[in-house]
């Protein structure tokens, strides 16, 4: 699974992209956030305030209950501020 980070999440995690292999019990976006948060203090800091984190699965916005699978591209980022 390819995980991407943008904006301040990228800065807090310390990388723009990582390849991960979560265990089978990680089934959705919320479960992936919990699993990633345990990987390092930097990950924990990035995900500390869930209200400030949005996600996309395979380049579509996704809610916490959206399923994730081994070959997905999952991105985490703050609320968008374009325009």
């Amino acid at each position: 699974m390819r995980v991407l980070y943008f904006a301040w999440l990228r800065q807090k995690v310390g990388t723009a992209e990582e390849e991960v292999s979560p265990p089978p019990e990680v089934r959705d976006v919320a479960g992936l956030v919990r699993w990633l948060s345990a990987r390092s203090p930097a990950h924990a800091a990035a995900f500390a305030d869930p209200r400030q984190v949005r996600a996309a699965v395979n380049q579509d916005f996704a809610t916490p209950d959206h399923p994730v699978a081994a070959n997905d591209e999952v991105a985490f980022f703050p609320p968008v501020t374009g325009g």
């Binding site: 904006a7 380049q59 579509d60 609320p79 968008v80 374009g82 325009g83």
Partner: protein
């Protein structure tokens, strides 16, 4: 089919506007929104980050929604990324239609949804060296929400 560009380079408002009416006589009005970088509070530059791939998909989806709701003869969305200085343009939305109401409403819809449904993030750089990520504004969510109607995305 909308013309959608995500690019670092500046764009030519006059040329883009002319392209929407070139060779056709069914256009009664072209509405435009030009977003410009303000230099508030000692801002030195705005740096725009985006999610390549998803950005283009998200804008295409928003443009398709505009084309489904209003009878547009043309539609152009250009969003810049990278480092943008105060006074420089950031985003251009152009909508063309036979009548002004459709062009004006579709243009307002497009910029409202672009602000809340396309994966861009702004980082502000100040003259004194400070940096700050721009926070999302509740007003932008409210502006986007006014276009939500029963049965629509």
């Amino acid at each position: 089919m909308a013309r959608i560009l995500v690019q670092e380079a500046a764009f030519d408002l006059a040329a883009e506007t002319a392209a929407l009416t070139a060779g056709r006589t069914d256009v009664g009005g072209v509405a435009s929104f030009l977003g410009v970088c303000r230099g508030d509070d000692g801002l030195a530059a705005m740096v725009l980050e985006h999610y390549p791939g998803m950005t283009e998909r998200a804008i295409a989806r928003i443009a398709a929604e505009a084309e489904a709701r209003w009878p547009l003869t043309g539609c152009t969305v250009i969003h810049r990324t990278g480092r943008i200085l105060p006074g420089e343009p950031i985003v251009l939305v152009l909508t063309a239609s036979a009548h002004r109401a459709a062009a004006l409403e579709a243009c307002a819809f497009l910029i409202d949804w672009l602000k809340t449904k396309a994966p861009f993030w702004k980082r502000e750089e100040f003259a004194d060296g400070r940096e700050r990520w721009v926070a999302a504004r509740a007003e932008d969510d409210e502006a986007a929400a006014r276009w939500i109607r029963a049965g629509a995305a």
